[in-house]
């Protein structure tokens, strides 16, 4: 038989204070809550493996998270453009019709090349290894080299 020791979930000593602080809508700006607990982010239960190699599962996991963050960044940029238009700093169509001058375009090209290099290093690293430039001796030799 169940014990019937129940009661209101509220501690009355905390209530007076609570009423004062909750009269207004909480601000949306990030603020630290010293007393707030850390909530769990990972669910209890075994995660299924969908691909032959668990690394593929991890890579898709990461890719989709990046996909989300890119979407967040685009939304944020859109907000900035719209706010700038509202405050008459620029028009969204200014952004649309903007054409970089030669100097700017050259800088952008340079930056894009570095960026693509960085993102596709997984591919280029393989070629570098084939070309022998990044070829390293077997691990045993490396360990022997540092331990001697």
């Amino acid at each position: 038989m169940k014990t019937r020791s129940k009661g209101k979930a509220t501690a009355s000593s905390q209530t007076t204070k609570a009423r004062k602080t909750t009269g207004k809508r909480p601000k949306s700006a990030p603020e630290a809550n010293a007393t707030a607990p850390r909530l769990a982010r990972v669910a209890k239960g075994k995660r299924p493996q969908y691909f032959s190699d668990p690394a593929i599962d991890k890579i898709l996991w990461i890719t989709l998270t990046l996909c989300e963050e890119l979407s967040v960044t685009r939304d944020r940029l859109d907000t900035v453009e719209r706010l700038l238009e509202k405050r008459r700093v620029l028009k969204v169509s200014d952004v649309e019709h903007y054409r970089p001058d030669d100097k700017t375009e050259a800088l952008r090209e340079q930056r894009r090349a570095v960026y693509i290099d960085r993102v596709l290093r997984a591919v280029s690293a393989e070629l570098e290894e084939l070309a022998g430039r990044a070829e390293a001796p077997p691990l045993e030799e490396v360990i022997a080299a540092v331990e001697s």
Partner: protein
Amino acid sequence: MTSAASRRLLQHGMLPQPTHDEQARQAFVTSFRGHLAAKVAPGAKPVYERRARPLFASQHGREPRDQHDVRRALEADPYYQFWSAMQRRSQELMWEAVIDPTERNWTQLVNRARASNTSRAGSSGSLELDPTLEVPRYHTAVDIHLQPGGYHTDFGADDVAAGAIYDRALNIYLNGALGPRNALMGETLLGFFRDRWPQRAPRRILDMGCAIGNSTLPWAEAFPAAEVHAIDVGAPVLRYAHARACEFGVPVHFSQQNAERTHYRTGSFDLIVSHIMLHETSKSALGNILSECHRLLTPGGLMLHLEIPRGSTPLEKFLFNWEAYNNNETFGAHMTEVDLPAIARRAGFDAPAVIKHRIERAPEQQLYSSETVWNVLTAQR
């Protein structure tokens, strides 16, 4: 496609306020899930028919016989693997996107719930928690729907996080299909009840497995003269449910009880309802809950349990059970084969029936099926 405004959740005081980027994350997950539902998931059928099924037949020398054969066939298919892995990740992203603002707003939410519990008690229902209640194993074994901590974990004193997280996530999960107050399931079952028993005005109503009370409120609003009770095993969702009901000014008596054995007196209710609760329980719990319904109902009283259909073909059955294998809805797979009316008869009901109830839904709000049909386990004491 339905308009963004019609899919938006109505803001109330217990919903955490997301920052710009948190809101953008939630919006992304909504769009991503909508894409998976409308564009990717429907591909499972042609992929199965044209690729996975023939391959299975050639490898096994026979056609797939049941949902388990379909599972073996599809799990080896790259399209299914990618869809499943993305569907799974979308569910995890959903919780992450909702947990961040909840954690940041945690103190304000708990304080607001505390205040509503005292200042408006009496005029707006009640909240009774039972710290001695043992949360059943079918809740604690794994986190249902991958919600970290499930419906029952208190991360701090007087926690309401599980409820706040669930409220927002429910809106994202079905792309707003449950409406601005997440009330569609309650409204659907209420409509079912009014169609069939237009003369009845229940005086005492019990909602079992109410979680945040989103499906309870339509009943309380439809029958203001009735006393409405709602129970759940999870303390944080109940604290949230009561505070949320106060925000909407709807009086409901929430209490922490196990539907398998409540402490209400025999014959306490003339109407007992539940909204997609049965498939989150267990084999033994199912029988116990229906027996408890029989005990709690007055003679002539009704029980109505809204449930998710489980498909008819082996492929449909497998797809509906995707959530069982990939979304910690473990008991869902068992529900596919269960004979609910038979269990209700064993619980003492004379003529129980499962009645199909069809509703409209946009493609991006659908899951695993092009048509949306609910099952209602219906029985009179």
